[in-house]
């Protein structure tokens, strides 16, 4: 029972890391980026290649996944995404779906359609007993990293100069520009950071979620559920939502496997109908 709970929390934490980058681009920058999962896949596959072909340590893959995905995000933002901020949501959706299709086929072409497996370093294998509950070391590791990350993110957004500049740029890009804030640079940086988080989620999730070429499509709905249930106004919303989702999904698959993902979709639709701004979100003041 408690093992399921801890597994669910770890699963939810990975979902949070994957989704909070999206929460930044979607919630703050108002850009519907369905290709977010593709950046996560980039991080995951990078880990697979580095570990299985070049024998790089898993601990090195974690920052590498973040940096490479962030670089990829920055590159795409500068060349393509930046042109789409002003376009309609439909255009953004079409564009990002196009990117997803390309990423899925490209990975399929280079890596094959099979599921990729990684072997965790021995120090992360095995189980420990915390407060009488047996938890996988890796699960504990993931939970710890994600918690640190969540707190750091919240601090960056609310306490630093960059955070306030970002919020200003999002609230009113024109006025922010007038005040001497380099809006496009901030957007590029934010987008890269969000993509980097996705890549990090991909690295951490490679073992828990599994990596195959359909990853971006398969988990797109999960990200959207986290965002829609958690709301995009805060970071704690998505955090709580992803933990709930993780527990519900793991427990659901364990106890009532016949129902499957049905519950999650239903929850999403119901929440969207009852509280369009999310369970934990505040209604928009604007």
């Amino acid at each position: 029972m408690l093992t399921i709970l801890s597994d669910g929390i770890a699963y939810g934490m990975v979902l949070f890391v994957l989704a909070c980058g999206l929460s930044v681009t979607l919630g703050l920058m108002n850009f519907i980026n369905l290709a977010h999962g593709a950046f996560a896949m980039a991080g995951g596959y990078l880990t697979v290649v580095l570990m299985n072909r070049f024998g790089v340590s898993f601990f090195l893959c974690i920052p590498a996944g973040f940096l490479v995905s962030a670089a990829l995000g920055a590159l795409l933002e500068r060349t393509l995404y930046a042109r789409l901020y002003a376009k309609s949501h439909l255009d953004q959706v079409l564009f990002s779906i196009g990117l997803v299709f390309m990423a899925v086929s490209a990975i399929d072409y280079f890596m094959g359609a099979q599921q990729q497996l990684i072997t965790l370093p021995p120090s992360l294998q095995g189980r420990v007993t915390v407060l009488g509950v047996s938890i996988g070391v890796y699960r504990l590791f993931v939970i710890a990293i994600c918690l640190v990350l969540a707190i750091a993110l919240q601090l960056i957004l609310s306490r630093t100069r960059f955070g306030s500049q970002l919020r200003a740029a999002v609230d009113d890009a024109r006025v922010a520009r007038g005040l001497g804030i380099n809006v496009s640079l901030i957007f590029t940086f934010t987008f890269a950071f969000g993509s980097g988080l996705a890549g990090l989620g991909g690295v951490l999730g490679a073992e828990i979620l599994g990596m195959d070429p359909t990853f971006p499509l398969k988990f797109m709905i999960y990200f959207l559920v986290v965002i829609s249930v958690g709301g995009t106004t805060t970071l704690t919303g998505p955090l709580l939502a992803s933990i709930l989702l993780g527990i519900a999904d793991v427990a659901g698959k364990y106890y009532v496997p016949t129902v499957g993902s049905f519950i999650i979709y239903t929850i999403m639709v119901v929440v969207l109908i009852l509280r369009p701004q999310g369970l934990f979100g505040r209604a928009h003041a604007r």
């Binding site: 949501h89 779906i97 196009g98 299709f101 499509l217 959207l224 979709y265 969207l272």
Partner: protein, 341 residues
């Protein structure tokens, strides 16, 4: 002769003429339908592909009604397509073998689902709409997957038998009847949609798409109008799905897949949304492209589909018809006549 000319080109300087102009059938449109019928004899070996094109065009047409005319974005339009396909397949399997009756019932059931879900979809922002439509489609797919005793699950629904169309035309293995049947249905529904979008109701829809707040201020009951078009579009999509089920006599989970909804979006933007012909032109272009790509790279054709999507968005709006319109205006300007319209 001059009477014919005034029919095709009403005087656009008057308000009534300007409103009538798009409602008039252009010679090119009539030619297109004649050509589509003549393909029955000109390209008898391609009727299977032509049948698929007709079905896809009808599906894209239904999306055009809500997306192009009413501005409702949907990532789950495949839900109605799949529902129609399953209803038609189940009817064919369990006793009702008349295709036309099956078609009407499937369209009705899909329209009913459209009516019920329209109240969910019409709330909230674009993002909420996207997620709710996607969610509805996913729920439907899960249901079809779980109730495999009824739907056949992942193995698909087999044993669908169809009687002759109108009691006269048996379905043959070459797909000739199928093409004639689908083309006839497409033409009838296209005609109805054409009347619909050029009616005052269609103009109201465009007003709502342009600015729903202002349309509301003018006294237009916006939600009610949107509910109606969403229901109609769902029925259209259901009929398209039913056509697929009846002409292939097989239904699989594939009809509810996410890629159906994504593909039909691509078809529409490829052809040009907001114009009924965009759906037809897009369906032709998409199927030809798909055939071509699937022949070169059977496994990776999706990459090129994605690339086309990205390019369409980056290169501007209007799809093929947009380019056609721009080219025609440019040519007309160069010839010194001013724009055609």
């Amino acid at each position: 002769m001059s009477a014919l000319l005034t029919y095709f080109r009403p005087d656009t300087r008057t308000a009534s003429g300007a409103l009538l102009a798009p409602a008039r059938w252009q010679p090119l449109e009539i030619l297109f339908w004649l050509f589509a019928v003549s393909l029955f004899w000109l390209a008898p070996s391609k009727v299977l592909l032509l049948n698929e094109i007709a079905i896809l065009a009808l599906f894209a047409l239904s999306l055009d009604l809500i997306l192009g005319y009413a501005g409702i974005v949907s990532l789950g339009h495949g839900a109605f397509f799949g529902l129609g396909a399953y209803v038609a397949g189940l009817l064919g399997k369990h006793g009702l073998h008349d295709p036309v009756a099956g078609l009407l019932i499937s369209g009705g059931v899909a329209a009913l689902l459209g009516f019920v879900t329209s109240f969910l979809v019409l709330r909230g922002s674009d993002l909420t709409k996207l997620m709710v439509t996607l969610g509805v489609a996913l729920i439907l797919r899960e249901l079809a997957n779980k109730f495999s005793t009824i739907t056949g699950g992942a193995d698909g629904l087999t044993g669908v038998t169809m009687g002759p169309v109108l009691g006269l035309f048996e379905f043959d293995i070459f797909g000739k009847t199928a093409y004639a049947y689908s083309l006839a249905v497409l033409f009838i529904l296209f005609y109805i949609a054409r009347r619909l979008v050029n009616s005052p109701y269609g103009l109201l829809l465009r007003a709502i798409k342009g600015n729903s707040l202002r349309a509301g201020a003018m006294g237009v009951p916006t939600s009610l109008r949107l509910v109606i078009i969403y229901t109609i579009a769902a029925g259209y999509a259901g009929i398209a799905g039913a056509l697929l089920a009846q002409t292939s006599q097989f239904v699989s989970l594939d009809v509810l897949d996410f890629h159906r909804s994504a593909d039909v979006l691509l078809v529409l933007v490829l052809g040009g949304s907001g114009q009924l012909w965009g759906a037809v032109v897009g369906a032709i272009a998409f199927k030809i492209m798909y055939d071509f790509l699937a022949a070169i790279t059977p496994q990776y054709w999706q990459f090129w589909v994605g690339l086309v999507l990205v390019l369409i968005v980056l290169l501007g709006k209007g799809g093929i018809l947009g380019f056609y319109g721009a080219g025609r205006d440019w040519l007309a300007n160069r010839l010194g006549k001013g724009g055609v319209r």
